[in-house]
Symmetry: C2
Subunit: 342 residues, 2 copies
DNA sequence: TTGAAAGCGTTACCAG
DNA sequence: CTGGTAACGCTTTCAA
C-alpha cells in the first residue's frame, strides 16, 4: 500500500474526496479550482466553497508529476560570510513568493557545487536554477543543459551555457574612478576579490582603465579574497609601508573588504578619510554603519533579483530562447570614507 | 497528455526504461537501486551499472507520491540582518545534505510567517519543518499539527505544540554575570532583544538573577530589538548620561547589538573596555573582528542544528513521540571587550 | 458544461 | 529472487 501512514482521523482531502462530496468528477474539481471558464460559474463557486470549508490543499508534487511543472527554483548561494549574499537571498525569497515560486536551497558557501547538488536539481524537478557567486561547474552546466533546466547566474557573467544578470561592474568601476579622481586622489591601490571571478575582474578593469586614461600611475593590486579578513590583511600591508609609498586611496571591490581595510587603518591610527580614502562596492547595509560609512557603488539588488526571475520564467516557458546577459547600472553612494566632492 | 514537452532527443530515463533495457520488471529496478538484499548481487550490479551508464536520476517527486516521504524540510528563518541566522542557515544546508535531506526555504525575515507560507508547507509535502526565530503563529502551528508535520524550533522555546532546541540561555546569562562580577563590575545595564522572545527573556533573567543573588543593584534595562541600530541607539543613550550615572558594564543579549553599542561608544570617545565593558551573546563571527573583540557566550551552532535535525527525523519516523525541548550549554568566550580575569 | 480514463514515475504488496 | 499490479494525487485528452 502506498501513501503516508493513515493520519489520526483527519484524513487529508484530495480532488477525489472533494469530487465525491460535490457529486462531480475529479477532473471537474481540478478545473473548477483553477478557474477554468468552461466550468459553470455555479459549480465553480460551489467547489471553491467546499475546498475552503474542508481545508483542501493541493499536492504540488502530484501536480508536478502530471503537468511537468514543479514551481520549484533551485537556489545556489555564495559564501554567506559576505552579507551581500544574505541580502540577496532574502530578496529572492520575497520575490519568489510573489511569483508563486518556491526556493529549494541547494548550496551555500564558497566551494564549488558538488555533483550531489546537481543531482538534487534533477531529482526534485526544479523548473529552473538561480546561481549566485559559486561558479557553475562545467559538469553541473552540462547536466542542466541536458535536462533543459534553465540557469540564470546572478552577479556573475557566465563562461558556460547560461543566462546572467549582473551589475554593470565595469561601468561601476569607472564611476568610482571618476569620483576618486574628482576628489583629487592620485596614488591608488585596488583590492581584488576572487581573482578569477568576472565580478572582481570587471570592477578592477573599469577602475584601472579610467586611471590609465588620465595618465595616473597604475594602481597597486592586492588580493583580498572577498572577505573581511582578506581586506584587513591588505590593510595591514598598507600600514606597514613607509608613509611616502603608501597609496592615498584604496578601492576594495567589495564592501566587506573595505570594512576590513578601514579597521586595519583605524587600529594603526591611520585616519580614514583624512590620511587615506577607502571605497567599496556592493552597497551592503553594514557598510553604512557609523563606524564605516563606506562610499560605494550599490548594486540594484531588487532589480537584479527581479530581472533574474524574469529571465528564468521566460526560459521555463520557452526552452529555445537564446542565452541572455543583462547588465544593470549600479549607483554611486557617497558617504564619508573618501575625501572629495559629490 | 501529461509530462514535460518532449526533450530534444535526450529523453530522460525512468525505472521503466531501465527495466526494459535490463529485461526485468520496474519493481526489480527500484529494489536493486536501493540495494534491497532480496535482489541477487548480480542483477543489482548489472542494474546499477546500467543506471550510471544511462545517467538515470530518480524522480524524487514521484517517489514522494508513492512513499509519502519527500525528503524535504521546510526552513523558516529569522531576520537575516542578524548574521547569526545566516550562519545557522549555512550550517543547516550542510547538515541537511549530509542526511540526504533538502531544504525548502519558506520565509526569511522578522515578520510572522504568512498563511501562504504555511500552505506551501503542505503543498510541497515537507516531512518536517525547522523554524528559527520567527514565532510560529498559532494558525501555522495548528496546520502543522493537523497534518502531522513535525516542527522543531531552533533558538526558541515554543509556546505552542512543537519541539525545540536552544542554547541554555538562562545558564548562559548566569555564566556571563559570574564573569562580569569576577571582573569587578558593579553597575550594570542590559540591552534586551525582542522583549517577548524567550531567548532574550531567559538571557536577561539568568543575568539579572545572578546579580540579585550578589546584592548588586538591579540593572538598567533598555530595548535594542536585536539589531545593530538598536544597540547603537542604546549606546547613544548611555553616552548622554552623566558620567557618574553611567553603568560600568553593558550586557547586550545579542552580539550584533553589542557591536552597535561599542560603535556608539567609540564615536563618543568612550573607551571599551577601559571606561566601560560591553559583552554580548551568540558567538557570531563578526563580533570577533579586530575592532570589536566581543566577549560573549557562543551558542553551539553545529550541535544545535544537528540535534534539531535529530529531533525532526525522530518525529518523522514516529509521529507519536512527545514534544521535547533540548537545551545546550553555551560557551563563554573571553575576548577584549570587557575588563576582568578569565 | 461535464465525465471517464489514461498517464506522470515511483514504491509496496502479493504472488510465484 | 523476481514479476505483476495497484496506488499515490493531479492534469489532460477525448468523448458526450
Amino acid at each position: 500500500m502506498a501513501g503516508p501512514t493513515k493520519e489520526l482521523g483527519d484524513e487529508r482531502e484530495t480532488v477525489v474526496t472533494l469530487a465525491r462530496l460535490a457529486g462531480v468528477a475529479a477532473s471537474t474539481v481540478s478545473r473548477a479550482l483553477k478557474g477554468d471558464p468552461r466550468i459553470s460559474r455555479a459549480t465553480r463557486r460551489r467547489i471553491a466553497a467546499l475546498a475552503t470549508e474542508r481545508g483542501y490543499t493541493p499536492n504540488a508534487l502530484a501536480r508536478t508529476l502530471s503537468s511537468g511543472r514543479s514551481g520549484l527554483i533551485g537556489l545556489v548561494l555564495g559564501p554567506i560570510e559576505n552579507p551581500f549574499y544574505a541580502e540577496l537571498m532574502q530578496e529572492a525569497v520575497l520575490q519568489a513568493a510573489d511569483r508563486g515560486l518556491r526556493l529549494l536551497l541547494l548550496h551555500v558557501g564558497a566551494g564549488a557545487m558538488e555533483d550531489s547538488t546537481a543531482q538534487a536539481l534533477l531529482q526534485y524537478q526544479v523548473d529552473g536554477c538561480l546561481i549566485t557567486s559559486a561558479e557553475l561547474s562545467s559538469h553541473a552546466a552540462r547536466i542542466c543543459a541536458a535536462h533543459n533546466v534553465p540557469v540564470v547566474m546572478v552577479n556573475r557573467v557566465p563562461r558556460l551555457h547560461a543566462s546572467a544578470i549582473a551589475c554593470d561592474n565595469f561601468q561601476g568601476g569607472q564611476d568610482m574612478a571618476d569620483f576618486m579622481l574628482r576628489g583629487g586622489h592620485r596614488r591608488f591601490a585596488i583590492i581584488r576579490g576572487n581573482p578569477d571571478s568576472s565580478t572582481s575582474i570587471e570592477r578592477e578593469r573599469g577602475f584601472a582603465e579610467r586611471l590609465a586614461e588620465q595618465d595616473i600611475d597604475p594602481p597597486l593590486r592586492v588580493n583580498g579574497g572577498s572577505t573581511y579578513d582578506g581586506g584587513f590583511a591588505a590593510g595591514r600591508m598598507f600600514v606597514e609601508m613607509p608613509d611616502d609609498r603608501r597609496p592615498d586611496a584604496v578601492f576594495a571591490v567589495a564592501d566587506i573588504m573595505a570594512m576590513g581595510v578601514i579597521d586595519a587603518f583605524r587600529i594603526a591610527g591611520i585616519r580614514v578619510p583624512d590620511d587615506i580614502s577607502v571605497v567599496g562596492f556592493d552597497g551592503i547595509a553594514q557598510a553604512a554603519r557609523p563606524g564605516y560609512r563606506v562610499t560605494t557603488v550599490a548594486q540594484p539588488l531588487k532589480s537584479m533579483v527581479g530581472r533574474g526571475f524574469d529571465l528564468l520564467t521566460a526560459r521555463i516557458g520557452n526552452a529555445t530562447l537564446p542565452d541572455e546577459v543583462v547588465l544593470l547600472r549600479g549607483e554611486l553612494i557617497v558617504r564619508q570614507s573618501a575625501r572629495g566632492a559629490a
